[in-house]
């Protein structure tokens, strides 16, 4: 018979003094299991799930769709069902001040004596804590002691997740259990559906494709990139970000009765490597250089892989790029994310034709084909400008398959001939070997 968990409204961003409860997962009094999602908050930027810390019975003090002040208790988990008050409690708007918790106070570089507040000393004594654990602190308050002991649930840190706009709608398509096996879709997938249907479900999207000639494109790029050899992603992010300033309609979204233009350009790129599909942000991309963008991609990707993404890595994305170039696709139709008006798809490079497809799906309520075509064409031209002209081929790397002489060492001024080698591969042959001595 105990209160196991108080669920309070977290402070997720300085500007959000209230959060909206967007999803209440269970009916009041329902048994819940440790790790199950109890409710979902929505901030101005993202959503935030709260999971049960232990098995118990949930009582909600909130309703979906309403706003609650930071620090207000919105749900409780009790150890027995009898403790739960069955009637839902209406939203309390009682004032609770934003109070700085102790998280930032754990600086440990104080060489002097530590000063304990009277309450801190009481608590330390009652908990039989060794005072020396606070060595290196200037002041230790009751809150600091509590934080150390994990009291007040400050350890409940979870990754923020992608936003959902509203409660998932239950689609009711009849199933016959004798003919099909039902696997419930994950909450991640549900969110993805919600997230993408926001723009797509209206049906007013269209996709335009252009080719980019990639012949010789990596000659210089590979030299200026540290990690991403033979990848167009960094340079596409770099050039797209700059172009979006010229095409603000693609850096905004449809609000229902107007168009919102983002003031900054934060390009997101989609990744899906074992950890679920996520769009990761390169903030302020239009102000960043190519090297910085590459480093940003590396940084945010490793946070993705290490499960250490910050809320800021996922929020305020103003345009998305989805790169399927490693999947051998010729072209595809990307889907526009919520609160975006466009998305750029990058297909694989056709090695024979030395080109790849760029596809842009856009929200027709915000812009139209002519403008997007111009955007794509300009993007393609910018990308093609990275191509090395023939003079700049790395002549030492072009070898005659027959005599292994490099083009650099060839004294003639007619060059090598592209040919098919006897074992059917692409290759080069020098004039001497071709014509014979």
């Amino acid at each position: 018979m105990a209160l196991l968990q108080d669920i309070t409204v977290p402070l997720l961003a300085v500007n959000d003094t209230t959060l909206t409860v967007v999803d209440v997962a269970f009916p009041n009094g329902q048994p819940v299991k440790k790790g199950e999602i109890i409710l979902v908050f929505e901030t101005s930027k993202t959503t935030y799930e709260v999971v049960a810390e232990s098995d118990g019975f949930v009582q909600y003090l909130c309703e979906a769709g309403r706003d609650y002040e930071v620090n207000q208790v919105v749900a409780k988990i009790f150890s027995s069902a009898s403790e739960v008050i069955k009637e839902p409690v209406t939203a309390k708007q009682e004032y609770t001040p934003h109070v700085q918790d102790g998280k930032k106070n754990t600086v440990n570089d104080w060489a002097g004596e530590t000063l304990f507040s009277l309450e801190a000393i009481d608590l330390i004594e009652s908990l039989h804590i060794d005072k020396s654990v606070f060595k290196g602190r200037d002041f230790v308050s009751r809150q600091d002691v509590e934080e150390l002991k994990g009291i007040n649930g400050t350890s409940n840190n979870k990754l923020p997740v992608q936003p959902v706009s509203q409660q998932p709608k239950k689609t009711a398509i009849p199933v016959d259990n004798s003919k099909v096996i039902i696997e419930r879709i994950s909450s991640n997938k549900k969110r993805e559906i919600e997230f993408l249907s926001h723009v797509q479900s209206i049906g007013l999207t269209s996709t335009i494709d252009v080719y980019v000639n990639t012949d010789g494109i990596f000659v210089h790029l590979n030299r200026s990139l540290k990690y991403f050899k033979n990848s167009l992603l960094p340079v596409i992010i770099y050039e797209t970000a700059r172009l979006l300033q010229k095409y603000p309609a693609l850096n905004g979204y449809f609000t229902g009765d107007g168009i919102a233009y983002y003031k900054s350009v934060n390009v997101g790129f989609a990744v899906d490597i074992d950890k679920g599909l996520k769009v990761l942000k390169i903030g302020g991309a239009a102000e960043k250089g190519l090297t910085e963008i590459e480093e940003n991609i590396m940084g945010v990707s490793s946070r993705y892989l290490d499960d250490t993404l910050q809320i800021d890595d996922l929020t305020d994305i103003t345009f998305t790029i989805t790169d399927l170039s490693s999947e051998g696709v010729a072209f595809f139709r990307p889907l526009v994310n919520m609160m975006n008006s466009g998305i750029l798809g990058v297909s694989s490079i056709d090695e024979k034709l030395q080109r790849c497809t760029l596809s842009c799906t856009f929200d027709h309520r915000v812009t139209e084909g002519k403008l997007v075509a111009a955007f794509l064409r300009e993007l393609a031209n910018r990308l093609e400008s990275y191509r090395a002209t023939n003079h700049n081929y790395p002549t030492k790397d072009i070898l005659c398959y027959k005599c292994s002489k490099s083009l650099q060492d060839d004294l003639g001024d007619v060059g090598f001939v592209k040919s098919i080698t006897p074992d059917g591969k692409d290759g080069y042959i020098c004039q001497s070997c071709l014509k014979g001595f």
Binding site: P97, Q100, G112, L115, A120, F139, S141
Partner: protein, 648 residues
């Protein structure tokens, strides 16, 4: 009907006609709706203007009052600037800001405050005397001004200090609508002679004699370097202002018939009409031209400025000297090195050196620049204002902060307004110092902190010293100011050494603003409560910071502004947004106080929920008895109790 003099110069008559015609034009324009506000005409009194203002030298000066058009025209000849001023044009003598009562041009100043101009004029005249110039000044008052105390404070001082100022009292028998027999006791001239001031007399019905006597009075003041008092008997033929005339019509008619210009117009109508025609044309042409002109745009008059505090911080170190020693040392240096410095105040001469010894030995170093005054706060401040207008850097001392109320008119209606109302032609870099604060047992009228009454005065800086750093940093900035500064010192701080208690758990720093902001914050921890205090209360807080933490669990960051008339809201709001808690402590009572202002400003700026609290003295006079005095002022026990109740 009496006859007018045949020997009087027609130039004088023409000057008087011009004054009358300009004022009559004002009344016409007012009736036509082209003149905003009000005018007070001197119709009937013009020869007083001509006799005095017309006979001064360029280097001399005039302070006049609400009825100043005649004086202005006679002294400056600038009809155009006056017409444009009253028509509200940018080319007006005060840019249209001042209008009828607030003119400033070539050593001519006027202000609509009765009596208050007299000490200012005395200060200006004192400045001339200090420079060894033989320039003199005239201040015009009316018989209505004889009710003002500042006049008598000043008459006492100008006589005692032998200041070359001629007070011209234009007696038109009425104070606005009230006849003299209702509100004036005794004799006018005896008032001046009782102060040992030589008196003169004349009237506007005999301009020739008036002009001769005026010249005699001017010569006396100039040659003897002593004040004079001239009573000009006259009569105002028009209303006080425009239509507000309840005087007996027959009485007015008697004076109308007696008026020199009226008699002259009948006796010498040829001359009169010829002069009138020329003058009318001159005025009409000017008015036609001026009516087409533009008014001053707001941005030329006022531009809002945001508070942007300096954000580079330097560490603070103790100085093993008492605050009063540092102040005294600074003033000793200044009185020798800075020719602008003049010290005025009660009991400031050596060996006494002021009630709190701040001015000790200054009068030994440079006796001619230290004036121990009578108990006359209005005159101390007004004379300081006049010295400031005349290019000096006067430091007036008001012995106790409570007495600032006696100087209030000079601060609010003179120092604060001069620069703007004269359309930024002049600056008034006056400095008024005064100690405030309790905890000395001085009781209700010698202990109050009434800084909240001072911080709301536009264009006047109010600075509160503290014991965190050398106060001469603040006074150096004050010496560079071009506008008025009030300095609140603190009685208990005088005896304290600078940063005498530095607790190792805190970092002490100040920013590099002209009036530095002090910040005391935990050595490494993030603070969890922002506390703002200033002046003497800041020192009280310093010794309390550890106790606050021990008892409340909150890690305090103390911010101590010194420029309290423009609080460093940016710094305080930023700190508050980090801590979520803001406490302001002031030694004055709280209602509509500096804490209120700060909380409102922070609330306008800060984002997120913030808990705020003001702690101040209880709203009663400060008791003398120690136990009650400490209970009324914000002390440690009350502060900690309130923090626990509000923030924990």
């Amino acid at each position: 009907m009496q006859s007018v003099s045949k020997t009087i110069s027609h130039r004088v008559i023409k000057d008087a006609i011009r004054i009358r015609r300009v004022e009559e034009k004002f009344l016409e324009l007012f009736s036509a709706g082209k003149l905003n506000g009000t005018v007070h005409t001197c119709v009937g009194q013009e020869f007083s203007a001509v006799a005095f203002a017309g006979q001064l030298k360029k280097k001399d000066f005039i302070f006049s009052n609400h009825r100043c058009h005649g004086h202005y025209i006679a002294f400056t000849g600038d009809i155009r600037g006056l017409l444009a001023e009253l028509l509200g044009k940018a080319s007006g003598v005060s840019g249209g800001i001042g209008s009828s009562q607030h003119l400033c041009n070539k050593n001519f100043y006027s202000n609509g405050i009765q009596g208050g101009i007299v000490p200012v004029a005395a200060g200006y005249a004192l400045g001339n005397k200090l420079r060894g110039e033989d320039a003199i000044g005239i201040v015009f008052i009316g018989d209505g001004t004889l009710g003002e105390g500042a006049l008598y404070e000043t008459m006492n001082i100008i006589s005692k200090w032998e200041i070359p100022l001629l007070i011209v009292c234009e007696n038109n028998l009425y104070a606005q609508s009230t006849p003299q027999h209702i509100n004036l006791a005794g004799d006018i001239g005896s008032r001046a002679s009782a102060f040992g001031i030589k008196t003169f007399e004349g009237d506007t019905w005999d301009p020739e004699l008036l002009i001769n006597n005026a010249q005699g009075a001017i010569d006396y003041v100039r040659s003897s370097v002593k004040p004079g008092f001239f009573l000009v008997n006259s009569y105002r033929l028009n209303a006080h202002s425009k239509g507000d005339d309840d005087r007996d019509k027959e009485e007015v008619e008697i004076y109308r018939n007696k008026d020199f210009l009226n008699v002259f117009s009948k006796e010498s109508s040829d001359y009169y009409n010829r002069y009138l025609e020329v003058i009318n044309k001159e005025i009409d042409d000017l008015v036609d031209e001026i009516l087409l002109e533009d008014e001053l745009p707001l941005e030329n008059y006022y531009k809002p400025e945001a508070v942007v505090s300096n954000n580079s911080w330097v560490g603070l170190e103790p100085v093993n000297k008492r605050q009063v020693e540092l102040l005294n040392k600074f003033f000793r240096d200044k009185i020798v090195s800075d020719d602008r410095a003049v010290f005025l105040g009660e009991d400031i001469l050596s060996p006494y050196g002021g009630a709190f010894k701040v001015t000790k030995e200054l009068s030994v170093l440079r006796p001619e620049r230290v004036f121990s005054t009578p108990i006359s706060e209005a005159a101390i401040t007004g004379i300081s204002n006049g010295l400031a207008l005349n290019g000096f850097k006067p430091l007036g001392e008001i012995m106790f902060g409570d007495f600032m109320t006696l100087a209030f008119d000079q601060i609010v209606n003179h120092a604060s307004k001069f620069h703007h109302m004269f359309n930024k032609k002049i600056n008034c870099p006056v400095v008024i110092r005064t100690p405030m604060g309790g905890r000395r047992g001085y009781g209700p009228t010698h202990s109050q902190t009434l800084d909240k009454f001072l911080v709301g005065i536009d264009n006047v800086k109010t600075v509160a010293l503290n014991t965190f750093f050398d106060p001469t940093i603040i006074y150096e900035s004050i010496f560079n100011e071009e506008h008025p500064v009030l300095v609140i010192e603190n009685k208990t701080d005088y005896g304290k050494r600078i940063l005498s208690h530095k607790y190792s758990h805190f970092v002490y720093e100040r920013n590099e603003d002209a009036y530095p902001v002090v910040r005391v914050k935990p050595a490494v921890s993030t603070p969890t409560i922002t506390i703002v205090a200033y002046g003497g209360q800041a020192d009280e807080m310093l010794s309390m910071l550890e106790a606050i933490f021990l008892e409340t669990n909150l890690k305090p960051e103390l911010i101590v502004p010194s420029l309290i008339s423009q609080l460093p809201v940016d710094i305080i709001a930023e700190s508050t947004m980090n801590t979520g808690r803001l406490l302001v402590i002031e030694e004055g009572s709280g209602y509509a106080g500096i804490g209120s202002e700060l909380l409102a400003s922070v609330a306008e700026r800060a984002e997120g929920a913030i808990k705020m609290k003001r702690i101040s003295a209880y709203p009663v006079p400060i008791p003398a008895v120690k136990s009650l005095e400490h209970a009324v002022l914000p002390g440690k026990n009350r502060i900690i109790k309130e923090i626990k109740e509000i923030f924990c």
